[in-house]
């Protein structure tokens, strides 16, 4: 029966090629536009570390200005930490895993004379950074506690830097000149590109991870510069690097891994105690306002998904709606021409159910055709988005199987929904009324 109905459907398309074409085109355009924008939003709001995004928390304490809050919203603690907090909270060592961190940069001087010196970004972090964020290694390992404590000049290279400086060879144990000092390579990462780059969204939420990773305290030891956002509400007491480091200026991030709710409560209590202790010392002039947000909450708080992407998505849903209204109208027109045929079929014994099934197949086939064409259009749309937005969008504008399945389901659903009312109306035609007029 299914095959027969499919054959009937194709006959019907042939009789009305323009109407059918319009319907397919309308669904294709609606699906194409929606899928393009859904894909961008889906990738922007993706969970970058699904296995433990609920257990990783971004640490915020309100160390800001007594006269005004960190931003216009009244209860938002600052989005970064001071050096003092970063180091104190690390020393307290109260979480299962923890890493304060900062972004910096320096010049690399490759020993191979063919490669000229170049500037590279640095992520200063603690040893837990790697296991906490499931960072994959190609060669070697992360550094250990001793390296953190002793401020050892060890470095983990990103895959790109290892490819560039050591031609992709296992460089563990070799030395590399960074910022004029000799560092020992202790590990090389495999490809790693969390999207969004959740651990530091202040400096480009979709940027690539840094080129080099090294122990946090080298910031102080080598007087490495602040890269990324630095905010101050109070002038540092004194001049020079060290005074600036000890100031109330914020340039540091910190993540903790807290496997259970109980751990989180305990850590929050610890933070509150810590801030109250600091208040005794005359710091933290604002009311107690500490915050522990998990990965997805933090992404949401930092508005990682661009407003424009969301606006476009909602507009494209309305666009799809217009296309569906269009399809319903065309479908009804088509079916209304068939009322005589339907009346005849009913009169010779076809049940409403039979007819309903037949016409649903007819509309669904249009939907699938529209969906496949729509996928093609979405693919073109994403190519267009990559071209318009440049590098940032390279990883954010590509279709994966989830999206392709979604596109086909959406178009099938949309076209069946769009076909439902016209089909139902067509099936309700009283047989007698149509036979009479013939």
């Amino acid at each position: 029966m299914f095959h027969y109905y499919l054959k009937l459907a194709f006959k019907s398309y042939k009789r009305n090629p323009i109407l059918t074409g319009l319907m397919v085109a309308a669904i294709a355009l609606g699906i194409g536009a929606s899928m393009t924008t859904i894909t961008v939003n889906y990738l922007m709001s993706a969970d970058p570390i699904p296995t433990k995004s609920g257990q990783l928390f971004y640490v915020q304490v309100d160390s800001w200005d007594p006269n005004r809050g960190f931003n216009d919203e009244p209860n938002t603690p600052p989005n970064q930490l001071t050096w003092t907090e970063a180091t104190n909270l690390m020393s307290a060592n109260k979480a299962y895993r923890q890493s304060a961190m900062a972004k910096s940069g320096a010049i690399i001087e490759p020993s191979n004379g063919d490669i000229s010196p170049f500037e590279a970004s640095i992520r200063l972090a603690f040893k837990d950074f790697f296991p906490m964020f499931n960072v994959p290694f190609k060669y070697g390992n992360a550094w250990d506690q001793k390296a953190d404590d002793d401020r050892q000049m060890v470095v983990v290279l990103s895959k790109d830097i290892n490819d560039k400086v050591f031609a992709g060879q296992n460089s563990v144990g070799k030395s590399i000149i960074i910022d004029g000092k000799s560092f020992r390579v202790i590990g090389v990462l495999a490809s790693w590109q969390p999207l969004p780059k959740f651990y530091d969204v202040n400096n480009g939420a979709f940027d690539e991870p840094e080129a080099l990773f090294m122990p946090f305290y080298l910031k102080q030891e080598l007087e490495l510069p602040n890269w990324g956002n630095t905010n101050c509400w109070k002038t540092p007491d004194g001049e020079g690097f060290s005074a600036f480091l000890q100031s109330e200026c914020i340039n540091f991030q910190m993540w903790v891994e807290l496997p259970t709710l109980q751990d989180k409560r305990a850590y929050m209590a610890f933070l509150n105690n810590y801030v109250n202790d600091q208040k005794e010392l005359g710091r933290f002039p604002r009311p107690l306002n500490n915050q522990l947000l998990n990965v997805m909450q933090w992404m949401d708080d930092q508005k990682v998904v661009a407003d424009d992407a969301q606006i476009m998505m909602w507009l494209s849903f309305m666009f799809l709606l217009v296309c569906l209204l269009n399809t319903i109208g065309l479908q009804m027109a088509k079916f209304s021409a068939k009322s005589a045929e339907i009346g005849l079929r009913r009169a010779v014994g076809a049940t409403k159910g039979d007819l309903f099934f037949q016409y649903t197949i007819e509309t669904a086939a249009v939907g699938i055709a529209g969906g496949i064409l729509g996928l093609g259009l979405a693919f073109l749309g994403l190519v267009g988005i990559r071209q318009l937005y440049g590098d940032v969008m390279n990883d954010l504008a590509s279709l994966d199987t989830t999206m392709i399945t979604l596109a086909l389901l959406l178009s099938l659903l949309a076209s069946v929904c769009a076909g439902l009312y016209p089909t139902w109306r067509a099936c309700n035609i009283a047989p007698a009324s149509q036979l009479k007029s013939q």
């Binding site: 323009i18 109407l19 319009l22 085109a25 309308a26 355009l29 536009a33 200005d65 006269n67 005004r68 320096a106 010049i107 001087e109 000229s116 010196p117 170049f118 500037e119 910022d179 004029g180 510069p225 002038t235 540092p236 004194g238 001049e239 020079g240 690097f241 005074a243 600036f244 661009a306 407003d307 424009d308 969301q310 606006i311 476009m312 507009l315 494209s316 309305m318 666009f319 709606l321 217009v322 296309c323 209204l325 269009n326 319903i328 109208g329 065309l330 009804m332 027109a333 088509k334 209304s336 021409a337 267009g384 988005i385 318009l388 937005y389 440049g390 009312y421 109306r425």
Partner: protein, 416 residues
């Protein structure tokens, strides 16, 4: 059906009654078109509004000679690298090149997206709020290099320029600010700000020695993008950024030249980030121009879809009504009357559509304002949008209506 020999606008019977009664017989079909028109209008009007706002934003001048300027950075790494000496040598070298108008060391560049901001206040004390401003640390060549004009006061003199070390917290005692900043600090008369004292870091006094016409902060999305202060400083640091203005037409040649002479002049440093201001502007507004292009594409496609939908439905209904049309023609209706019938029918449907569309447009705008802090739509967009959608409907219906008018009266006599 009456026909006067000289059809005038009011004299003729426009058959509104019959059209309306016919529409009522196919309520759903008419409603679908009306809804389509309503949603199309909602999207199109809101999209146009966003496009207009974005392009206005993109049209704001930065104040500098964009077509003939570029910047480049130098980062020293050798042990004996002396930032201050290197900067002086570089500037002398660049300024001596043929075709260079002027060059400065600067800590940040307009449109580039990264920079330094401070607050200035007219009363000393932490309890007073400051006005946010971008800071450009420059020497006395800045006005010429940046192509900005003094509207009051005077330029820095070479003796004003102080050396700034990294992590330095104190500021020079002189500053030049933009007129926009002066008007923010002294709302009654910005130009009279020359000679006045303002406070930086809550309590440190600075005297405003000059006011320039216009210069933008590095962040184009910042509300206070016109607030800028210049401070007379040269930075003693390993990394140094140079802003260079060239004679018209010489920029590209000089860019290549500067890059190679700087790279050659000192092996203990690298040069990087060579970029023209034109390119910087493109990058700064890339999101906006992308959004504009996407919205235009969506709008055009949407109007085509809606238009073709109307064409399809009307063609269909013409086919369905062939016999009736033939009968009307046989009974004396002119071709003109047939065309008019379909045009009026569409006008009635469109009217319902655009009225609903007006409501939806405002509704969507309220949502957008609420969720994405856009500004509310200007009222005149609504009637313009209604007019546009009416027009789309009329254009779409004209072709099929014309076809209908060509149906021969003889058709009425044939059986279907």
């Amino acid at each position: 059906m009456t026909h006067s020999s000289t059809p005038s606008f009011f004299a003729e019977n426009w058959e509104i009654g019959p059209i309306f009664r016919t529409l009522l017989r196919n309520k759903v079909g008419a409603m679908l078109i009306a809804l389509q028109i309503a949603f199309t209008m909602t999207i199109v009007v809101n999209a146009i509004y966003i496009i207009v706002q974005r392009s206005e934003k993109m049209q704001r001048p930065s104040g500098i000679d964009e077509a003939n300027s570029f910047f480049i950075s130098s980062v020293g790494f050798s042990h004996d690298f002396n930032g201050l000496v290197s900067t002086q040598q570089d500037l002398n070298l660049i300024r001596s090149l043929n075709g260079v108008v002027d060059a400065i060391q600067i800590n940040a560049v307009p449109l580039s997206g990264s920079g330094w901001s401070m607050g200035l206040q007219t009363e000393p004390g932490a309890e007073f709020d400051g006005t946010g401003t971008a800071v450009y640390m420059v020497d006395e060549h800045a006005l010429n290099a940046l192509d900005v004009a003094l509207v009051a006061g005077e330029n820095f003199s070479p003796t004003d320029i102080q050396v700034r070390t990294s992590s330095q917290t104190h500021w020079p005692d002189k500053t030049i600010i933009t007129l926009a900043m002066a008007n923010r600090l002294f709302p009654n008369d910005g130009l009279a700000a020359v000679g006045k004292t303002v406070y930086i870091n809550d309590i440190e006094p600075m005297i405003i020695t000059g006011i320039i016409d216009k210069l933008q902060a590095p962040w184009v999305g910042w509300d206070n993008v016109e607030n800028v202060m210049l401070t007379p400083e040269i930075r003693d640091a390993k990394s140094s950024r140079y802003f260079i203005r060239t004679e018209p037409g010489e920029r590209d040649r000089i860019m290549t030249q500067v890059e190679s002479v700087l790279a050659k002049s000192n092996p203990g440093r690298i040069v990087k980030d060579l970029r023209s201001i034109d390119e910087t502007r493109l990058r700064a507004y890339r999101d906006n121009s992308a959004m504009i292009r996407i919205l235009i594409t969506v709008m055009v496609i949407l109007i085509i879809v809606t238009g073709l939908g109307i064409v399809g439905l009307v063609s269909f209904s013409v086919n369905q009504r062939k016999k009736q049309i033939g009968t009307r023609r046989a009974l004396g209706a002119s071709q003109h009357a047939i065309v008019r019938y379909f045009m009026l029918e569409n006008l009635l449907i469109s009217t319902a559509g655009v009225l609903l569309g007006a409501l939806l447009t405002v509704g969507l705008n309220i949502v957008l304002v609420d969720a994405f802090s856009l500004t509310p739509i200007a009222w005149y967009y609504i009637p313009l949008g209604m007019l546009a959608l009416w027009l789309v409907g009329q254009v779409a219906v004209y072709g099929p209506a014309k076809k209908a008018a060509n149906i021969p009266p003889a058709l009425a006599t044939r059986s279907a």
